[in-house]
């Protein structure tokens, strides 16, 4: 009987059961225990499409749009879907070489054969239109719309700043960004990035293996709409800015103009400059490299970054401190003793007003000596040590040294020396006034940046206070300026002494022997002071700061022209032209204007 082998049915039955048990264990492992497969499934089939919000616009103080957005198109590629195609035609449409196309596709494939990668960035609308017609011939390629910056005119590149691809640091630090996104790199674009960028929207789609959309994910329950960025109105006066830039054309230097009563920056010019429109789209990289290589450094914002000795302008500060400290009074006179320090020929400075008007160096030598060595201690070293700290505290209250708040990234604080600084240099109690007297006329170790000098003009125009200079005026029409830009900051000098220096600055422009005669504007009561920055490397820098009108001032500014000679020569007339433009809306001093426009330093 063959049935002697019937026991073998148990072997076969056992085999079935063992196989089933092994299968069930494996199912438990992949379906219940290991979460990897669930994640992979989502990655496979749920495509997350970012809907980019429109970036906020910039408007000038009159509500005129100066920066807006313009559609641009990224050509995307999904390597897995590419079929053989006419490479020559594609390359010519996209302005690519065959090698660039090849390497682009190779690197896209390396990233992912199934996910889209950017092949060509920011195609122009014209190229896009041409490509769109032929797109059906190129499976695997498609175009994704994005916005890029566009500029109404070529003004204020340093103020507005530029955008760039987000770096590793920001990618890690902020969940908002993903690779390839744009972020403000400099200027106001960087300063107000968080307001301008808006909020991305996300739409989820189900996609099949060919990345074809198969409908929404869970009926769009998790989708979010993009929130556009906030439009920012800035205090810049586009017309004034443009005029200032034209005056500075061909010169190295900077201008900062502030509305004294509000601290709003009306114009900020740094020359040489560049057209902000070239740092956009496909020309960005070559333009950027070219600008970086330029020996004149057009991307450097001289208005906030260039440190100069304030020169004679600083005499105003010295006078105010001395009056406040009681080192001098309104009628104190000093002999113009050229043995102490060099000076030019001028009538005798019989009081502080005349000393400012003539910009008398020996006078302020004496003034500074009285401030630094007030005679509290008989030891001059000890006296200077205490004196410099009192002096420094006054100077800092003018927004000089560190600490002037401006709503721009990268603002240099200048430098005001303290006792510790000289101790390190000379040794403790081994220096006195005689060691540091150069500071008396704004040379020596004292340094400031142009925006600080413009702010100083605003302080004098305001007779003793300032509001931190700023661009922000309104956010999406809401004009509540951030608190830090509305706070009134009083200097340590009482307002009554300011009238004296205001009169002096008036005389600088309007009286005979004043150093700022070239700043006169018929019919406008302008007050100013020249400052020649001694430059060991070449021709002196020409500096001038001013405000107008004398009563109820509307504009305060600082003008620096590098290697142009005395302050009265070039900076003063430029200041007067800008003031005329701003206050009257037109310039009648044609001769003066032509002289400036024809003046080229490089």
């Amino acid at each position: 009987m063959r049935n002697q082998f019937s026991r073998r049915k148990y072997v076969l039955g056992g085999l079935v059961v063992i196989v089933a048990i092994v299968f069930l264990i494996k199912l438990v492992a992949i379906q219940l225990v290991n979460p990897r497969y669930k994640l992979s499934a989502n990655n496979n089939s749920r495509h997350r499409q970012i809907e980019y919000p429109a970036r906020g616009l910039f408007l000038d103080r009159h509500g005129k749009v100066i920066v807006f957005n313009q559609a641009a198109y990224d050509v995307m590629v999904i390597p897995k879907q590419i079929l053989p195609f006419d490479t020559t035609e594609l390359c010519s449409m996209l302005n690519l070489s065959v090698d660039e196309l090849k390497s682009g596709i190779v690197s896209a494939r390396k990233y992912s054969p199934y996910q889209p990668s950017v092949l060509v960035r920011q195609l122009s609308a014209i190229d896009y239109a041409r490509f769109q017609e032929k797109l059906f011939k190129y499976p695997g390629f498609y175009v994704q719309g994005r916005a890029q910056r566009a500029y109404q005119s070529d003004i204020a590149p340093h103020v507005l700043g530029y955008l760039g691809e987000v770096g590793v640091q920001d990618l890690r630090g902020d969940k908002h960004y993903s690779t390839g996104d744009y972020i403000g790199i400099s200027g106001l674009e960087k300063q107000y990035e968080n307001l301008l960028r808006g909020k991305k929207g996300i739409r989820y789609f189900l996609v099949d293996v060919h990345h074809q959309r198969q409908g929404s994910y869970e009926e769009g329950r998790f989708d979010t709409l993009p929130e556009p960025g906030k439009n920012i109105q800035i205090s810049l006066d586009a017309q004034l800015q443009k005029y200032g830039e034209s005056l500075m054309n061909g010169k190295r230097g900077s201008i900062v103009a502030i509305e004294p009563s509000s601290g709003e920056i009306l114009a900020m010019i740094s020359s040489p400059d560049y057209d902000p429109g070239i740092l956009v789209g496909r020309e960005r990289t070559p333009s950027f490299n070219k600008l970086k290589k330029d020996s004149l450094d057009p991307m450097f914002n001289r208005a906030t970054m260039s440190r100069y000795a304030p020169g004679s302008i600083f005499k105003i500060v010295q006078a105010l401190i001395a009056l406040e400290q009681g080192a001098i009074n309104e009628n104190t006179g000093f002999e113009c003793n050229k043995n102490l320090i060099g000076c030019h020929n001028h009538p005798e400075a019989t009081n502080v007003k005349k000393a400012i008007q003539y910009s008398c160096n020996p006078y302020f030598f004496q003034v500074y000596k009285r401030i630094i060595q007030p005679g509290i201690y008989s030891n001059i070293f000890r006296d200077s040590e205490a004196g410099i700290e009192v002096w420094r505290e006054h100077v800092l209250s003018f927004g000089l040294g560190s600490g002037l708040l401006v709503d721009l990234p990268n603002v240099n604080g200048g430098f005001i020396p303290d006792a510790e600084f000289y101790d390190r240099w000379y040794g403790r109690r081994r220096w006195a006034f005689s060691t540091i007297y150069s500071n008396s006329n704004g040379q020596g170790e004292v340094e400031s940046v142009p925006i600080q000098i413009a702010n100083l003009a605003a302080i004098i125009a305001n007779r003793g206070f300032y509001i931190s200079p700023h661009f922000i005026k309104a956010i999406d029409g809401d004009i509540t300026t951030p608190e830090e830009y509305t706070q009134i900051k009083q200097t340590t000098v009482s307002p009554k002494y300011f009238d004296i220096v205001v009169e002096a600055m008036h005389d600088v422009v309007w009286e005979p022997f004043g150093t700022g005669r070239r700043a006169r504007i018929p019919g406008i009561d302008i007050c100013g002071k020249t400052g020649t920055v001694q430059n060991v490397h070449g021709e002196d820098h020409s500096g001038f700061f001013a405000f107008a009108p004398k009563n109820n001032p509307k504009i305060a500014l600082a003008v620096y022209v590098e290697n142009a000679g005395g302050g009265g020569e070039w900076a003063a007339p430029i200041a007067s032209l800008l003031i005329e433009e701003y206050l009257t809306g037109e310039v009648l001093q044609i001769e003066k204007e032509n002289r400036i426009l024809d003046f080229n330093l490089y």
Binding site: V16, L27, S40, N42, V209
Partner: protein, 476 residues
């Protein structure tokens, strides 16, 4: 007459029929789900889509089942040879007239309708095996009988291999299980299974893991045979001591042996110790087991050496492809990975009917045919996929039970043949989708899309059910 028919219907094994109906119904739902697209109404009878075609195939299969139950079951006993002849004829014919799909020339086309003769060849093969084994004077010890049997059994396999359809060809080897039931010497089977198993394991598992695993199994078998736990403990201790000693030697001698070499040498060095103990204790039977163990180690070492040291890279790659480790042109393991993702993402209760994303959106290749189990796993989760496995176990055990209760050898062997074919398909197909078995493209019975496979499986099952119904009519 009415009495007989009633009687006949009562004798049909309805449990199996119900399982069959559950399988085809659930199978169809999964094919429907795979083709389902959101926002796109699928007419049941748009003949373009697979689910509606499958619906028609199912209707035809049910008619087929009824026809098979009506045809006298003696027909199959009498006409086993002619049926076998016809399927072999078509297998040859398809080589010349067939059309190539996915590299395999295994399809006839009649208009838009296609038929795969290799599926129907299973019927012929099972019939012929039943016929030969049920011959009065057949003996498994007669080599002539055995040559005829294996020749007839494997001829379709060879023809299908010529069509370049390796998966379908391998199925015929499952019929060895039938011969095993009918008395094939177990040693051959065991050696064969161990050999294949070790060969595959060598390629799958690192040498340093496999050798201790094999050694441990050998020791467990010895200790079971001797009914002594001490043998197991003692044997393992010797191996570990050898291993430690070797580490010491390699450290002292600055030999820099790697883990694989240490494990291998430890196993080889232990062998004389065991042999000495066996010699001392005069344990004859253990000698056999130990020899098997030694031969196994030798096989592992030689396969490992051959595969990794002697063979060229492209040869290795080809073997991997044949074994299914490197089957997909889209990249090594793509199929398998996507399949596991689909099943794994189902979780406990699945994503719900028509809610699967992996299978519906073509991430899994061949998702309506060979990888239909992915849809089960994704949409029905662990609940659904374990349900399918458990019902399959019930189905296969039921087939064994039915086969054993046959009174004629022919019916019993046929039953075992049907069992073997279904078991093999179940084992390979589900094992492949969950990554336990190399990717070998054969369908999951009653689930996978396709008329040919559904009809041939229906044929096999219902011929056997009819034989079972008539089991009292024949004399053993």
């Amino acid at each position: 007459m009415a009495d007989f028919r009633k009687n006949f219907l009562a004798r049909v094994d309805w449990i199996t029929v119900i399982i069959y109906l559950v399988f085809i119904a659930f199978g169809w739902l999964n094919i429907y789900a795979t083709n389902y697209q959101e926002g796109q109404e699928l007419g049941l009878f748009s003949m373009l889509s697979r689910h509606s075609k499958q619906f028609v195939y199912i209707l035809a299969a049910l008619i087929l089942a009824i026809v098979v139950l009506i045809i006298d079951s003696k027909f199959w006993v009498l006409f086993a040879y002619p049926v076998y002849g016809v399927v072999v004829f078509f297998l040859v014919l398809v080589l010349f007239l067939g059309r190539e799909i996915n590299g395999a020339t295994s399809w006839f086309f009649i208009g838009s309708f296609s038929i795969q003769p290799s599926e129907f060849a299973k019927i012929g093969a099972v019939l012929i095996v039943a016929k030969i084994l049920s011959q009065f004077n057949f003996s498994v010890h007669n080599w002539r009988n055995m040559t005829l049997l294996f020749g007839a059994m494997l001829l379709p396999s060879v023809l299908i291999l010529l069509q370049n359809d390796t998966g379908s060809a391998i199925v015929y080897f499952a019929l060895i299980l039938v011969v095993f039931r009918e008395g094939l010497n177990e040693t051959f089977l065991i050696f064969g299974v161990i050999g294949i198993f070790l060969f595959l394991m060598t390629l799958l598992i690192p040498f340093s893991v496999l050798v201790p695993l094999v050694s441990l199994s050998a020791l467990i078998i010895v200790s079971l045979k001797e009914a002594s736990f001490r043998v197991l403990l003692f044997g393992a201790l010797i191996q570990v001591l050898m291993f430690v000693a070797l580490i010491g030697v390699s450290l002292l001698g600055n030999l820099e042996l790697n883990a694989e070499q240490l494990v291998g040498f430890a196993a080889i060095a232990s062998l004389p110790v065991y042999l000495w103990i066996i010699w001392q204790k005069r344990l004859r039977s253990l000698f056999v087991i130990l020899s098997v163990w030694a031969v196994s180690l030798l096989l592992i070492a030689s396969v490992d050496y051959l595969f990794n040291e002697v063979m060229e890279d492209h040869q290795r790659s080809r073997i991997n492809q044949i074994l299914g480790f490197e089957s997909d042109p889209l990249g090594r393991g793509y199929n398998l990975n996507q399949s596991k993702i689909a099943i794994g993402s189902g979780g406990l209760t699945g994503k719900g009917f028509l809610k699967g994303t992996q299978t519906r959106f073509n991430f899994v290749p061949e998702q309506t045919t060979d990888f239909i189990y992915c849809t089960v796993g994704e949409e029905w989760g662990f609940a659904g996929s374990s349900f399918v496995i458990l019902v399959f176990v019930g189905f296969l055990l039921r087939l064994l039970y039915l086969a054993e209760r046959q009174r004629s050898v022919f019916s019993r062997v046929f039953g075992y043949g049907v069992f073997s074919i279904f078991f093999f398909h179940f084992f390979i197909n589900i094992g492949m989708t969950i990554g336990l078995v190399p990717v070998i493209g054969i369908p999951l019975p009653f689930f996978s899309y396709g008329g040919s496979s559904l009809w041939s499986f229906t044929f096999l099952l219902f011929i056997f059910l009819h034989l079972d119904t008539d089991r009292f009519d024949v004399v053993a």
